[in-house]
Assembly symmetry: D3
Homo-oligomer: 275 residues x 6
C-alpha cells in the first residue's frame, strides 16, 4: 500500500478502520484521467481486496471534481494511432478498449463494496466508473453528464451496459443520446445515486458513517450479497436462486452466523473476524 | 379450503367474491415464520390456483405486522444442523434452502395475481415474499428492511434476484448492503410499492377495491398478462415477443374477447366466466 | 417520401433540418389504428432510415390524441377470422400477430433515434408504440393506459416486453393488470417519459429543440449509442462490453472524432457529415 | 416403496445393492403409457431420490419393448377435450402438457443418476423419456423413432429440447422431421446411446455392472457431476465455471475426499457413506 | 413464381407435388454467387413459404457443383468500397454483411423445411448456406471446405454460429481454422450430412423420396417441429419446454390430429389439408 | 521467453517459425501438476500471445504422458486447509478454484490458436486442459479419463462446461459419471480429437505440419475465427451473427484481404504480416 501512484491515493479512514478511501488524484486537471489510470486502478483495487484490514472502499475525487472525463490527450493519441495496416490498427484498438474496460470492471471483481462519493463534475469516464460502483452518493451541486456522444464516441467503458440496470432503459437512452448535464438532485430522482448531501463536508461525513456501518457488518454476508447480486444480474431468476442456494450451502455456516444470532439474542453488538 | 393451517388463514372477501385473503397468522410473534410456513404456503397457493372461484389473492399479515422475518429458532436450528460429514451437511443445507425458495416461488407459479398488502414490519423474509408478489401496496408507517446481512446471511430466498428488477440494481445493492430501514413513503419512491395508504383501514379498503377491479376483468387476459410478464423477464425482447404471439394464437380467441368487444360496443359492463 | 399514406404523414421540421416529424394521422377516430398502419409504418421508418438527410425522427399524433389504441373493427376482424381448421386458424393468427409486432420493432431497427411526443390519449397500442421509441416526452394532461386487459387481450405488441425495462417490473405488472389510466405527471414519476410539458405547444417546441440538439451531434456516435444500448439490453454485462469494444474498434476512428476533438480544443461548434 | 403402481415397478438389484431397477410395466400394450404414468413416475423418482439406500436407478421396460409411445386412447381423450370456451380449453391443455413435461423432467430433478436400458421399441414418448435420462444403453435390435410428427404432434415432452444437445442439431432435425425408424447400432453412431449390447441379457448384465460401478463411487461427487452438467447446459462457460467453483467450495471438503485420497495412497478400494 | 431470376430457378417436382426444387443456377462459374443472389434468395423463399402448394423445398446446384463460394469480384468490390470517411465506410460495410446474413437466415424464417442436396463443391458461402438448411444430404464425392480463412475472412454469414451446433464445437473449430477440404463421407462422419449417396442421380432420387415423405406428413406438425427446434436452440430447456407447451396448446387441436389418429386406428394412409 | 519455468518449457519449432511448442515438463511424475503450474501457465500464454513472432501454439507433454492429472499432494493440501472458521475456509477455497480455472481459461483468452498434441495419459486435469484448447490430436495409444469422480471431486476446472459442447451432452455425462478410460481411437469416435496418429513421432510430425499450415494463414482471420467461435458459443445465433458482422466491419478491410485476393487471382502463395 506504500507504493506511490500517479492518478490515485489511498487513505485509511482512521487507524484500525476497515474503511479505506481511494481518491482520484489529478486535481490540477479536474481529475481528467489518462492511460496510467487504467493501469493503476485495477492493481490498487486488487491489493485492497486482498488486504484483510480493508472492509470497504470509498472512491472520491480530490480537488473540485470527482472526474472530469477522459484526458483529451489520451483520446487524441488513440485517434492518431492509425498507422500501418488498418485491420491491425483496429485489432489493436479493440484490445486497448478491452484493457480499459477491464480496469473499470475491477470494481466488480473486488469482493468488498466500493462506494462512490461524488462532488463537482462526474462526466463521461466518470459515469462509467460510478455505474460500476456498488453504491453512489453525491452532493447537491454535483454535475453529471454521459457526454461521450459529444466527443463522437459511443460510450464504451460500461455506461451503456450498467446505467440501464440502475436508472431504467428509457432514462439511460435519453441521458446517453442527449448528453445533457444533470444535477445531484436529479441524479437522486433518476435513481443514479442513493442519497444527496448538502455539501462536500456532509457528503464526506455521511458516507464515512455509512461505510463504517457496512464495514462493521458480518464480512462473509457483505461479500456474498455483492457477489450474488452481480451474478444474479446476468442469469434468470431460477438460475440466480439456485446460485445463492449453492453459495449459502457453502458459506452460511460460519462463526459470523453464530455470533450474529447470539448477539441478537443477548441484545449486544456483535463482532466479526476480518475476511 | 377447510383445512386448518398453523401459519396462515384464508378468508373469502365476501360470499361469491373472487377475492381471497391469505393472511399470515402468527401475530403473537410479529408474524415471524418458521419451517411450517414453507410447507403450508405453496400448498395453499396451489389450492387457491386450482379453485375456479378464486380470481385474485390478497396477502396480508394479522396483528401489527406483515412479517417480522424468519423465526430465529428456525434459523438457529439450521445453523446447528452441522453433525456428520461436512460435505453431506452442506448438500442437505442446499436442499433445505431450495425447498424454502420453492415455497416462495409458488407465488409466481400461481396463475392468478397475488397482491401484497403490507402494514407494520416487513423485514428479511418479508421482503423475499413481497418481491415475489405481483403488486405491492402498503401503509404510510410500514417499515421495510432487507435485514439478512445483519444476521450474517446472504439473502437467499429471492430478494437478491427479484428486488433489482423492481427498484433498479443500484437501489437494490444499497438496501441489501446497508440493511437500513425505510418507510412506506420511501418504498413508494423507490418503486417497491405501487401506492401508499394512510392507515391500515384505508389499505384494506383500497386493496379490496383494486382486487375486485382485477377480479372482474377477463380471467384469461389477467392470467396471460401475469404469465407473459414473468416469462418475458427471463428472455430477450425478441424471444418474449415470439412467446406472447404464440400464447395469444392459443388463447386470444375466447368468449372473453367476444364479450369484451360487444360490451364495449354496447357500452355495458361485460361479464366473464370463471377460470 | 412523396408517397401518400393513409395512417401517417411525414413533415421535415424545416428545409435542411435533420429533424423529421412522423405524424399518426387518423384524427377523426382519435388515431385509432387498423391493419394498414402496420403495413405503412415500417415502410416509412425504413425509408427515413435510408435517407441521409434524416438525422432523427419525432413521432406524434395529429388531432387531439397520440393514439387511441387499436381500431375496434380490426380487432373484431381478427376475432372473427375463425373459419376452417382451428389449428390452421391459430397458425395464421400467430403470423398476423408477429407481422404487427414486427411493424413496431421497426422503431428499434431504424438506426436513427425515434422520439415520441405524446399528447392526449396514449392507450393500448399507443403504449406498445411509445415503449419501442428511444425517448418519450408528453404533455401534463396526456392520458396513458395499458388497457388491453379490459379488451380481454394479453398485450402482445411489445408492452409486456419493453415496459418493465423502462419503469421496473413491479410497476409494469401493476399497470398491466389494472389497466388504470395515469396522467403525464405520473408517467414522469413512473419513469415512462423523460419530461412533461405544460401544453401541446410547449411539447412541440421543447421536443423540436431536443431533437435538433441530437440531430446536430456526430451521427456515428448517435447511431452507435442507440444500437449498443439496444444490443446490451439482451446480453450480459461482459458480453455487452465486448460488443461495444468491437463496435468502436470499427467505428470510433472517423472524421467525426477528429472534428469533435479539434472543435473542443478550438472551442468552436463542430460540424459533421450526414450518415 | 411397497406401494403398488399401475405402470411401473421397482426392484432392488440385490439386497444391500444401491442399484434400483425402475421398470415400465405395461407389457400387454407394448408399454404404451397413459396419464397414470405421468402421476406415478415423478412420485417414484422422488421417493428413490430421498431413499439413502438408492445410489443409482436403471430404467427399463418389461416384456418386449422399452416403451411403445403414448397410449392412443389418452391422446384421443386430449384431442376430444374440446368442450366449452375455446380459450379455456387451450389454457387447460397447456397445463396438461406442462404436467406431463414435469413428470419427465423429474428424471433431471432426481439427484441420483438414471440410466436407460433400452430394448425393443422406444418410440415417441419413449424418446422423450430416454433423452431426459443421464446415460442410455440399448440392444442391437432396439428400434427408435421420433414418431410424433406422424401423429400430427409437434413433440412436446422434451425431445425437441434435449435431443439436439445429445446428437447435434442437424441430426435432431432430420430424425424429428422424418420420424424414421433407426436401430440400436445407428443410435450408437448418432451418439444417442453410449454402448450397444448384443442381446437383452447382455444389456441387463452390462448395465448392471456399469450401474454398480457408479453406485460404488463417492456419492457427493456423483450427485455433483450430474447437477453441474445439467446446470452448465443452460448457462455460458464463465457462469458454469463460477457455479462449479461455488458448488465445490461447499461440497468438496468431505469425508469422501479424505477417503478417496487415502485409499489411492494405500492402493485399496475406498468405501463411502450413503447420501 | 413465374418471375425470372439470375441466380436461382424453381422447379416443382411434378404437377401437384408439394416438393419444390430451388436450384442455384450459375453453372458457368461453378455456382459462385454475388450480390444479386442475396437479393433474390430471401424473396423466393418467402414466396415459397406463402404458397400453400409448397410443402417442402429442396435446395441444390445446377452444373457440377452445389456452390463454389462467394464470387471473387463481389468480394473485391466490398474490399474496394473504402472511400470517404473510414467510420462511415465501416458502418456501411456492417450493414452490407447484415443484409447478406439476413438473406441466408431466410432459410430459417421459411416455415417449411429446406433440404440441401449437395454434390460437387460446397465451399465457403456454400457452407454458410447448407448449415442454415434443416437437413443435408450429399454425394460421396462432394467436396466441402470452410475456406474463408484462406481468403483472409472471418466467416461471417452463419458458419461460425451454426456449424458448432451441428458437428460439435471442437470439429467446427478445426474445420474453420484449417479450412481443409473434406469429402462427403467425412461430412457424414462429422455429422454435417445425414446420408451420403453414391452418385448425383441417387442423391436426386433419394432426396426426392425423403422430401415427398415429409411433404406428405401433417403440415402443422412439420412446421411446428422446425419452429420449435429452432426456438429451443436459443433458450434453455425449461424455457423450450414452456414454449412448446404454449405452441401445442394453440396448434395441437386440429383436423390433422383427428385425421392422424383415425387413420392410425383404421390402418389407412392419412391425408392432410395444405398449409 | 528466456525465463525458466518449473512446470513448462517453450520451444520455437525452428528459427523464424511461427509455431511455438509449449511443453508440460514434469516427466518424472508423469506430468502430474501442482499449484505452480497454475501460476506459470497463464503467464506464459499471455507472453506468447503478445509476441508477434508467435502465430500458433502446440501444447504437449514431455516424457511418457501428456498429463497424469492433478498432483495428489496439492489436492491433499487443499483438503487439509480446513482450519479457522469454516465459512472463511470455504470462501478461500472458492477463490483457489477460481484461480485455477482462470489459468486454464487463459487458453481461450490467448488470441492465437492452441493445439493439444496428446500422447500417453491424459487424465483428470489433463481433460480440463485439452477441452479448453482449440484443436486436439492424439496418438492411437493415448489414454483418456475424466477421472475426478473417483477422487471424490466434481470436476471443477472446465471439463463439465466444455466437454458437452465438444462430444455432446450424453457422452459427456457418461464419461464423467463412469470415469472410464478410453483410447485415442475412441476419442476420435467421440469427437474429442480431430485425428489419431499411429505413433508419437507421427503425431509430432503431423501436428507440426498442420500448425505450420495455420501459422501461414492470414493472422487477422485466424484470430477472428477463434474469437468469434468462442463468443458465439455463449450467445444465440442472431446475436452471434450481429457480433461477427460488427467484428468484420472492423477487421475485414486489411492488407491481408487485399493480399489474399490478389494471390488467388495470380495463383501464387500469399504472404501476410505478423500480428
Amino acid at each position: 500500500m506504500e507504493e506511490k501512484y500517479e492518478t490515485l491515493k489511498i487513505q485509511q479512514e482512521s487507524p484500525n478502520s476497515g474503511v479505506f478511501n481511494l481518491i482520484i488524484n489529478r486535481p490540477s486537471v479536474s481529475n481528467a484521467l489518462g492511460l496510467n489510470f487504467f493501469s493503476e486502478f485495477p492493481k490498487i483495487l486488487n491489493a485492497l481486496d486482498q488486504n484483510p484490514t480493508v472492509a470497504i472502499i470509498v472512491l472520491s475525487g480530490s480537488g473540485n471534481h470527482f472526474c472530469g472525463g477522459i484526458d483529451l490527450k489520451s483520446l487524441a493519441a488513440i485517434a492518431d494511432d492509425n498507422s500501418g495496416d488498418q485491420g491491425r490498427t483496429r485489432e489493436r484498438l479493440r484490445r486497448k478498449i478491452k484493457f480499459m474496460q477491464d480496469a473499470i470492471t475491477a470494481i466488480e471483481r473486488c469482493r468488498k463494496p466500493v462506494i462512490a462519493a461524488i462532488h463537482g463534475a462526474c462526466l463521461g469516464l466518470g459515469i462509467n466508473i460510478v455505474t460500476a460502483c456498488d453504491i453512489r452518493y453525491c452532493t447537491k451541486d454535483a454535475i453529471f453528464s454521459v457526454k461521450e456522444v459529444d466527443l463522437a464516441i459511443t460510450a464504451d467503458l460500461g455506461t451503456l451496459q450498467r446505467l440501464p440496470g440502475i436508472v431504467g432503459f428509457g432514462k439511460a437512452m435519453e441521458l446517453s443520446l442527449t448528453g445533457r448535464r444533470f444535477s445531484g438532485d436529479e441524479a437522486k430522482e433518476l435513481g443514479l445515486v442513493s442519497r444527496v448531501f448538502g455539501s462536500r463536508e456532509e457528503l464526506k461525513e455521511g458516507v464515512r458513517t455509512i461505510a463504517e456501518g457496512i464495514g462493521g457488518k458480518p464480512p462473509l454476508a457483505v461479500v456474498g450479497t455483492k457477489a450474488v447480486l452481480i451474478r444474479s444480474r446476468d442469469v434468470n431468476v431460477e438460475q440466480g436462486l439456485d446460485y445463492v442456494a449453492t453459495w449459502n450451502s457453502s458459506m452460511l455456516l460460519s462463526e459470523d452466523l453464530t455470533e450474529a444470532i447470539s448477539a441478537q439474542k443477548q441484545k449486544r453488538k456483535p463482532t466479526f473476524a476480518k475476511l
